[in-house]
Symmetry: C2
Subunit: 647 residues, 2 copies
């Protein structure tokens, strides 16, 4: 065994590893949250560490640069060595930001909720009833549960009840501590039967619920008072599975080896979802035990990993999920490993296919596609880009692999749309970027909407060409080229904002983003053409995702992410998966609506669809190889400059 | 901390204990299965240990005898000490005896089963169906579960299925390993819905079931092939909770202190039920995973301890159980901690009241009381003696605390009715006992039926008087008196059978047994009188319990355990709780019958019933203070001797 000393900005760890052990593996085993979106393929360059003392054996193609920086995935430990893992190589897993009641909910969540409240009766899954039971005597000596059941039958009309062991264990004491006056929290199982979720002192709320969107890159959650249906707080963090791979394919490959599946399940539950729940509870001074309902929407791979289901067949033709209709699933908090009430009601949104998951089934609800005869399209900008086309008569869907760029993944200074993120950018005549930062004075990085603006502006002012390469004929102090000729643009100078490092974007970042936008644009084209439609047939476009709240639609059209149609047709609806989860948490009919939506959707498998790859290649430019498709490119109400297009 | 060295016949343990720590507590903490039926009250005298080296501080009333023997419960450790725990102070917990297919089942189990098969359609809870699924393609890309569901709907007509996460996790691999040809093991949840329990390769059995009787003193289990309904083996062992107290009251007192409840739950599950299941599986070469159904019948306290339910209100007026109708309970193998398939169907027999439990609800079925207009009585001779009186029109029930004597507990050389037990005794003119031993040449101890014979014979030949005391005017080498004048009778001489010690019975043992039989007899009287009946109204008497298979009814009447009515009216039906569990395992209607039985029984609480204590005191003689109640006492077809009665 060889001594390995690991220093990070926060701690120093001493571990012993086998001779020749892979350094990335050793770091993961030691519990270091090192970022490795390519899962050790040596392609993403994220797992950089510094050699402090001693040396490692490296694969020749990743030879150490002069400053002693190596990629952990390409090194083997062969002698005692001390390494330093810098902040930028660490995943931002524990950086949870809780936001309490903000204007955002009013706009995005309650709007849809209130619209539905007028259509649907707002029936809750979880309800509460207060009981005043007679105290038992020798003549009235029925059991505690029979006594409760007798009263429930009278007051609710249910003839059968279901109680879980965990609750039953405490019932004798709860009843007597409260002199047989208690509140029963329950849910209807069918017309005639209820499940008792909790029995508690009278006068308290029915309890709280948590709605979650489990994305490939980010996890977002909101805490809800089930009685008032108000959102008490929202929080988001990185999906801790990211350290095992940035996209679903890399995660699946990791899952099927050794105990990979368990590690992935644990990562998302114990390092992402549970910490979010705990932070939300802490901020609202409630106990996790009081969470009596949990809804989650996720893509199909995330759902299978959350449940610990062998996922390999999701990525192998003919791409078959284990389960789509989640109503078939009998699931408890313990099955997932959630830190909430053991008897909580758990609902997962249903999937359509291997690459169209519960996030989309849930997302169609706040997108209101089914509520109108107008043909509209929902574009969910996630790591897995998912698109739904339809109206009250039909629903078509497809998915494409966009990668994590929309959520700031695989972008040098990328981050989620959270406080400190640059969410909007304009570039002035002096090529200097003007920034809009979410809830802060000082920028930490750039989120998806900021990157869209940035690329659009870089193209508009002529700093990059249609391939996304920096033009060497335009000189400014904001653009630099490295020894290999790779350009980068300084978005925020460290001096101006008092940062340790500049915030910048490189050609590699832009290339990643172009691939993401090309995947989404070409998928949109193919979905439309599959039903013989054109962009002009679209009456509404709903854009969803964790890209940021202030996406500039004109810029998104300018870079060729969205089709060049009237910008007035676009609406940004936020994290539609989370909003769907929220509605499903507070309203029984909303859950049924989401189940129906999944059943009604027709899925198109793009990977075998003729013409998709050609569309993708043509779209891998700014905005597109076929400029006729973007007649308004750089002609919209942003100041134009006389620049030469590379095409 | 003080060094404590513990020697047992099997091992030597070195532990460190606090100054002044109670020795019994120290032994339990060290994992020694020391017998302490009175739970450390200093009254049962079972926790004897020998001081080998060093000394202990003793409570004055339990001062060490000359041979260095002390009661662990009365000692405090104050200096380094070495003690020896002899075999007789250890609980026989791990002594599991598996019996494969014996004539016993033919008689006791199959008889009732076959009788019911003619009345009921023999519907199983757990069934199997073989499916030949189409392999998925790009055009037929429904999920694995949807595919299974589609076929089940066609073949079974169920429109809904329920799947647990544990099974779902493996479904993708199971289907593909078997080329989509699989057997689905399932159970109907309602008319329209099934639960999928297991999916396995085709051609195998539906699986196995385990039926259990959880008694206060003993636990018995049988392993059943759910397809053929044959019993593959039976096994029994002591209830490992016995070390925390011999009867339910002492266990409840232990449960409500510290982590007592958890220790009691763990004891019965991990040290009794799971080892029985594992031994049965091993003997039949199957895996515990193949156990897909579990039924258990137990008294109410045992049921609450099995489920980890706070039990204190069972022993406090007005004696209220947490739950009687077990249909309200949603329970999994994990809730109990069973080492069987995680999706197994679990049924617990329903209780009637705090002291009439599922053992009796289940036991009424094989007793066939409800099947006739004849008034009959079921007497279940357990630690908790339970009695049911009735016919097809009515069912009355009551319970009494008999203690563990019927199962050999609190008897010096007592044991369960298992191989090596003396099950029948006659005493010859020379006062020497003639023994019948279960399945062995060499006796290990005496079981309940043997003790009945022994006391009856000792009384008949005039060695004891009506109070159960040895008569000093009769001299024989088989009767000895100790320094305090306490008599004992040598049942089996060590020389004759090659034993380490004689097998004997003492006045204290006889006294324990008299209290047990008096409790049962007086409860029987009170139950009859509560409905204005007399012994002569009884047309049938069914005797049940782990007392042994060859109970001599005439001797049982002779000692005043049973009423003095025509011995032809008596039938011994064995462990009726276990047989009821078995029937409930293999037949849906039997389970419903047991549920109905519990609903139909009217319970009489003896502890507050006027006259019960007087009846008990009068019955605490052999056979009774009122000899007119036993006109045939010692006049039955056993050889009579000219003996003087003490009364």
């Amino acid at each position: 065994m060889i001594d390995l000393t690991i220093k990070t900005p926060n701690e120093t760890l001493q571990v012993k590893v086998q001779q020749g052990e892979n350094l990335l593996h050793a770091l993961r085993t030691a519990g270091v949250n090192i970022d490795a979106p390519c899962n050790g393929n040596g392609t993403c360059g994220k797992c950089r560490v510094k050699l402090v003392d001693g040396s490692v054996r490296q694969k020749s193609m990743f030879k150490s640069k002069e400053n002693g920086t190596v990629l952990a995935c390409s090194c083997a430990v062969v002698e005692p060595v001390t390494i330093y893992v810098p902040q930028e190589s660490l995943l931002d897993v524990n950086n949870i930001r809780v936001q309490n009641n903000t204007e955002k909910y009013e706009r995005q969540f309650y709007q849809v909720r209130d619209k539905f409240a007028s259509t649907f009766t707002t029936e809750s899954h979880v309800r509460k009833i207060e009981l005043e039971l007679d105290e038992p005597t020798l003549d009235d000596n029925i059991s505690d549960v029979t006594r409760i059941k007798k009263h429930l039958r009278l007051q609710l009309g249910c003839s059968r009840v279901e109680i879980n062991t965990h609750l039953l264990q405490r019932i004798p004491l709860i009843l007597r501590e409260n002199n047989f006056k208690v509140a029963v929290v329950y849910t209807w199982l069918d017309d005639d039967k209820i499940r008792i979720i909790e029995i508690k002192p009278p006068g308290k709320t029915a309890g709280y619920g948590v709605a979650v969107d489990v994305g490939t890159t980010s996890v977002a959650a909101c805490l809800v008072d089930l009685e008032t249906k108000q959102i008490l707080g929202e929080a988001a963090c990185a999906n801790a599975q990211s350290k095992y791979g940035a996209d679903v394919i890399n995660r699946i490959i990791y899952a099927i080896k050794g105990d990979g599946l368990k590690l992935l399940k644990d990562a998302v539950v114990k390092e992402s979802i549970n910490p979010l729940i705990m932070e939300l509870c802490k901020a609202n001074k409630i106990s996790c035990e009081e969470i009596v309902m949990f809804t989650a929407s996720a893509n199909t791979t995330m759902t299978q990993l959350l449940l610990g289901i062998y996922p390999d067949f999701l990525r192998k033709e003919p791409y078959i999920p284990a389960l789509t209709d989640t109503r078939d699933l009998n699931i408890t908090a313990a099955d997932i490993g959630l830190c909430i009430n053991k008897n909580a009601v758990i609902h997962l949104s249903p999937a359509v296919a291997s690459y169209v998951g519960g996030d989309i089934s849930a997302g169609v609800l706040p997108a209101l596609i089914r509520e109108s005869e107008k043909v509209s399209i929902l574009i969910d900008l996630g790591t897995n880009g998912e698109i739904v086309l339809g109206n009250s008569d039909f629903l078509m869907t497809c998915a494409c692999s966009a990668g994590p760029a929309f959520e700031g993944g695989e972008i040098s200074c990328g981050m989620r749309a959270a406080p400190g993120a640059i969410e909007a950018v304009t570039i002035g005549d002096d090529y200097k970027a003007q920034l809009t930062i979410i809830g802060a004075e000082k920028p930490y990085g750039i989120c998806g909407s900021g990157i869209i603006d940035l690329i659009s502006e870089l193209k508009r002012v002529g700093l990059i060409d249609a391939r996304g390469k920096f033009r060497k004929d335009v000189t400014t102090k904001y653009v630099k080229f490295d020894q290999y000729g790779i350009g980068q643009y300084i978005v925020a100078e460290k001096e101006q904002y008092g940062l340790d490092e500049d915030i910048y974007i490189t050609e590699v970042d832009i290339d990643n983003f172009i691939r993401a936008k090309a995947a989404v644009y070409s998928a949109t084209c193919v979905l439309l053409s599959s039903v013989g439609m054109d962009f002009d047939d679209l009456e509404e476009v709903k854009v969803a995702g964790g890209i940021g709240n202030h996406i500039n639609i004109k810029n998104a059209i300018n870079i060729g992410l969205f089709p060049d149609i009237d910008p007035e047709k676009y609406t940004f609806i936020g994290n539609s998966s989370l909003i769907g989860s929220y509605l499903s948490l507070i309203n029984k009919k909303a859950k049924e609506y989401i189940d129906e939506t999944a059943e009604q959707m027709t899925y198109i498998e793009l990977s075998v669809y003729p013409g998709y790859m050609d569309e993708f290649v043509s779209a891998s430019f700014i905005p597109h190889t076929d400029l006729q498709r973007f007649p308004n490119h750089n002609k919209m109400d942003v100041p134009l400059k006389d620049v030469k297009s590379a095409i």
